[in-house]
Symmetry: C2
Subunit: 453 residues, 2 copies
């Protein structure tokens, strides 16, 4: 049995390790054009921030460890073609330039995502970075000691995480978001709250600019020295990081006739099968089924990649398994502010054809007399007709993360708000108010639905 895996970050590495455990005698080859394999990409901002010194801390499993379990890792080896008819892949060595064909019985495509880089003048100047691979992280961190000012292009998850990282490294940071709001993954009211809370903790270390965009990077052979925005602002920068989102890396899959879904990522069954026999796909290159909307969505997140890699390996190795889909749970942090979400936002609920009712509360995360009590804002959303819970968002300096997981579980179980308000959550003053903000919000939501407001 010859298993070939393309891609080696979360999903690919997981699929390789899982396949080995399932089939001790299979021949397992993993090809990646990256210079590293099996690392925590989600940990890159925390490395840049300086939480630890050695980038190797991010390595989950080294090539040597893979070798010990007889998994062959081929770094800087680009698979440029999949040949489903003869069940081969064409591998090009990025260092030597040589190419050869490799046979597979089962192929697992885990090519991930690549940064979307907008068409900005001089975007290829030295010290203009994207942040996706470990080598990007190493390069950014190396540039920090000789930098004073940084520009971040884009105010989504990665932009916000890089803002924290660079501010903590004592750089002055200007974040420029093209749209009217940062963190527009959230509903507008919650995005506004995020912007307001970040403004309130800003002691001049950073500036967030919205409704403006970088039209040009300025600089010379030494690298970038500033940006010009569409509103004509000139901002000094010793380094710039383009965080304008990612797109699924699906070119070779598409070329081979592997079907893409409406999101542009690879369409897979719950068994992580593509439309082509013996080819599986997993991780950031595939689209997910959203359990709440019943529709496909593309949610390139590490936890999903991990689970999908596992399911792809199981089915490739002949052990039936399914990945049931996602709720859309995600969390991040910026300078002490937690932002988390699960299920559908209000705007996405409308798009998905629901008639959403919302409730939002701002409360202490624990009893107010505890010295470390902090505010959190919880927004909960349900369908007006059925009362079914649809989603929740949490924002605040307090504990706004695990409460969203409590809600995610209610979504998984398809609970109505009436069922959820009976929840029996732990209570003690250091952990929550007598009535948890989550239940508080749910009670308001229930009244709204019952009163038909």
């Amino acid at each position: 049995m010859k298993i070939v895996i393309i891609g080696g970050v979360a999903a690919g590495a997981k699929a390789a390790a899982k396949s080995r455990r399932l089939l001790p005698d299979a021949e397992i080859n993993l090809y990646t054009d990256d210079t590293h394999v099996s690392y925590s990409a989600c940990g890159i901002p925390y490395y840049i921030e300086g939480n630890f010194e050695d980038y190797r801390t991010l390595l989950v499993r080294s090539p040597e460890e893979f070798a010990k379990s007889n998994i062959f890792i081929h770094l800087q080896s680009h698979v440029s073609k999949i040949l489903p008819q003869c069940k081969k892949v064409l591998v090009e060595n990025l260092q030597s330039g040589e190419a050869h064909l490799v046979d597979y019985d089962k192929l697992i495509v885990a090519t991930g995502a690549v940064p979307f880089v907008p068409d900005i003048k001089n975007v290829n100047l030295h010290n203009v970075f994207t942040v996706r691979r470990l080598e990007d992280a190493i390069a950014i961190r190396e540039k920090i000691p000789s930098s004073k000012n940084a520009v971040i292009v884009g105010g989504g998850y990665i932009g916000i995480e890089m803002l924290e990282a660079l501010v903590r490294q004592n750089l002055h940071v200007t974040l420029i978001e093209r749209g009217p709001k940062i963190m527009s993954i959230f509903d507008e009211d919650m995005s506004d709250l995020i912007a307001g809370q970040l403004a309130s903790i800003n002691n001049g270390e950073f500036e967030i600019i919205t409704s403006d965009s970088v039209v040009e990077f300025t600089g010379d052979n030494n690298g970038v020295n500033g940006v010009i925005t569409s509103n004509g602002r000139r901002i000094d920068a010793d380094m710039a990081i383009v965080c304008s989102g990612v797109k699924p890396n699906v070119k070779i899959a598409e070329d081979a006739g592997i079907k893409l879904g409406i999101t542009g990522a690879i369409e897979v069954t719950p068994q992580m099968e593509t439309n082509i026999q013996d080819i599986y796909a997993c991780g950031d290159c595939v689209e997910e089924f959203n359990i709440i909307s019943g529709k496909p969505m593309w949610l390139p997140l590490g936890a999903n990649a991990n689970k999908e890699g596992r399911t792809a390996a199981m089915n490739a190795c002949g052990f039936p398994d399914t990945f049931e889909g996602v709720l859309g749970s995600a969390v991040t942090r910026c300078l002490g502010l937690t932002m988390s979400t699960t299920g559908l936002t209000e705007k996405d609920a409308i798009k998905a054809g629901f008639d959403p009712v919302c409730a939002r509360v701002t409360k202490y995360d624990k009893v107010g007399y505890m010295p470390d009590a902090n505010n959190i804002t919880i927004k909960v959303i349900a369908d007006r007709k059925t009362g079914r819970l649809l989603g929740a968002q949490g924002v605040g300096a307090g504990d706004a993360d695990k409460r969203i997981n409590t809600f995610a579980t209610a979504l998984l179980a398809k609970l109505t708000v009436k069922e959820f308000v009976n929840n029996d959550l732990t209570y003690a003053p250091p952990f929550s108010p007598t009535i948890d903000p989550l239940l508080n919000a749910a009670q308001i939501l229930l009244s709204k639905i019952e009163q038909g407001s």
Copy 2:
């Protein structure tokens, strides 16, 4: 409409406030033999610990605030008899000794619980405290500055919380638990873990003694100066706190013919009705329905009391409402160690007739490279035959609290372990590992069940 409420801490105060909102014209009288009303009893340990200076911080609503909304609070007014035939209660003023009869249309009994005080020689010595009422808290806190050594009798929730409080106040504390384990509400393996973790952070500030008990308090007219244990140990003590548990305060209810349940607390319907027409009961004096076991249990906790007070008031005022029962969720903290539980423990699951399978993992609460990562141990329990989740316990220096709420929601929804492992929990390195310890434990549990081990 005359509403009379007996008891004024959590359930009684909540019932009074809720009744007022529902019926603006009702006559509402609340009688309590306490010197304070509407305070956070759960917050007492944190006041004693010194998190805030003024005990009035614990007051949720003052008698003056109640008066403003036309609710009459009668402090130090002991209801010594309920007369259901003529719908009156006998009230004795504890200061003046006078007594009078009060009419009711609806009576809400919220008499709470009282400390169980074991029959120990000299237990009535000065500076031997129990900790239930605000006046206890004030007395204990007043004694702290002149104390060096304290003895705590009992190693349950309150004992453990008082241990933290007094250690933080720089007293040397000896906690003496009669049974073989502290925190025996948890399964034995988790109790052992708690004991081990507390031992590992002990720098000589405290000693925990198990399988021994206090047989005598020594001292004189100035108060206690030590204890003698059944093993013959003599321990110095300037103060002692008896935390040997509580019992439901149901004498006047029982005398009036109100039916008690098998737990010894008042039996109520989901509407919080007792067996006697127009008499409701709520809070620590009533027993709860356990949603998992389907059996009654007595769980005197603040969050339940609050919800029950609300439901009792609604039904008393003619607005149908039900309290669906409890999962048994609880949490506490001791010197940085979090201990939380929901649903049934393994031992309780066996008692309730299930055939429990368990899985236990010890993992970091966030990705290990984050500087504030800490270990947590999660134990999850399911029924072997059906795979239905039964309970979870969390212990550790890390975030072991809200994860138990995530599990509680799964219990509320009656999920099986197979359904639960599909959960989509938020992931980012500052918040959790790629696979949350809770899902990790659930996956192991699922394998055990599927492999029939």
